[in-house]
Amino acid sequence: MEMGDTKTILKASKHPYTFGLLKSLPRIEEKIQSLYSIPGDVPDMLEPPSGCPFHPRCAYAIINCQDKVPALEEYEKGHLVACVRANEF
């Protein structure tokens, strides 16, 4: 889904799955009322979803996402992202 050096991934993630995971961690620094969570469950790999494997759970999914598997493309040097909307995040 995404690959890069630790700092980039943790601070400037460009994939909804990555920043979804980061947001769903409870943090000691803050007191929040409700924790963010990625909806749904890990998909059944006997019938994997079409297109982007994350699209059924993605809040930013668009029509294109269910048709084509996004390529792992270089967003910046050393930072690879497999998301068609990476530029918007």
Binding site: L10, K11, I28, K31, I32, L35, Y36, S37, D41, V42
Partner: protein, 323 residues
Amino acid sequence: MRGLTKYFSVSKGFFKSSKDVVHAVEDVFFQIQQKETFSLVGETGSGKTTTGKMIMRLIQPTKGEIWFDGKNLLTLNKKQLRETRRDMQMIFQDPFSSLNPRMTVDEIVGSPLEAQNILSGLEKRQKVIELVETVGLKPGIKMVDRFPHEFSGGQRQRIGVARALALNPKFIVADEPVASLDVSIRAQILNLLKDLKERFDLTYLLIAHDLSVVKYMSDWICVMYLGKQMELAHSEEFYSSPLHPYSKALLSAILSPDPNIKHERIKLIGEMPSPINPPGGCRFHTRCPFVKNKCKNEIPLFIEARSKHWVACHFWDELEGTY
């Protein structure tokens, strides 16, 4: 109804061989107010789970009293205990081993209803379907006839929660409910537990070791070490001004995913000593970075150092603000 209050003072020993006694939990005392979440934290072996199990009467305390809803659970006869058990349920850590693999969801979630002779047959099935919906699983007649292995870890934990809710309990002991789950699923289960608490006016005893999770969930926090209480305070008070060196060490050991946050770590040396022969004086003295002579000889009392903030340390006031 009276306020749901538990008074708890236990001294416990398991006979290991002829003379060895494991001091699993000793003289633990706390109260849980209705509709609040009370958390027990500490390392493995600190006695958190033993305490939870004693409250549920799954194991017999050696000494002490457990009060629930005005009744002393240790003096009830079998019939009374059975009735009281309806109000108390437990959620377990591992949804892979806490659900019988040979039973369907209908049997698992419905078993408390049958055991207490509340519902059976079609009515029971209807209730199971309702419960399964309550915990956020996709309802359906087919779904309740499936077996645990057909579900993911998060879904299994939801089944475990549904089973705990079957009898409309007032009080739930959740023993590490999210420790074995993925990060994204963990958030879902924590939110579910919070929602259910609001919806059904539940009271929780949460047993956990992850202090970030505990902060998200709790009203009260009790830190345990080698079967003893080290500190007890309201959540906000505990996170803003912990008093015990052990609590401070635990708090400083929390890692943040933000690489820019640098924090001072208080490193604890060594491992927890054996509870069969616990250290004399303060049980934490063998690992405390601020240990003094008095700590080795005298057991610190669990005192109310500040209003509603208890601590068991001889030098809590001297150490305050020094690190």
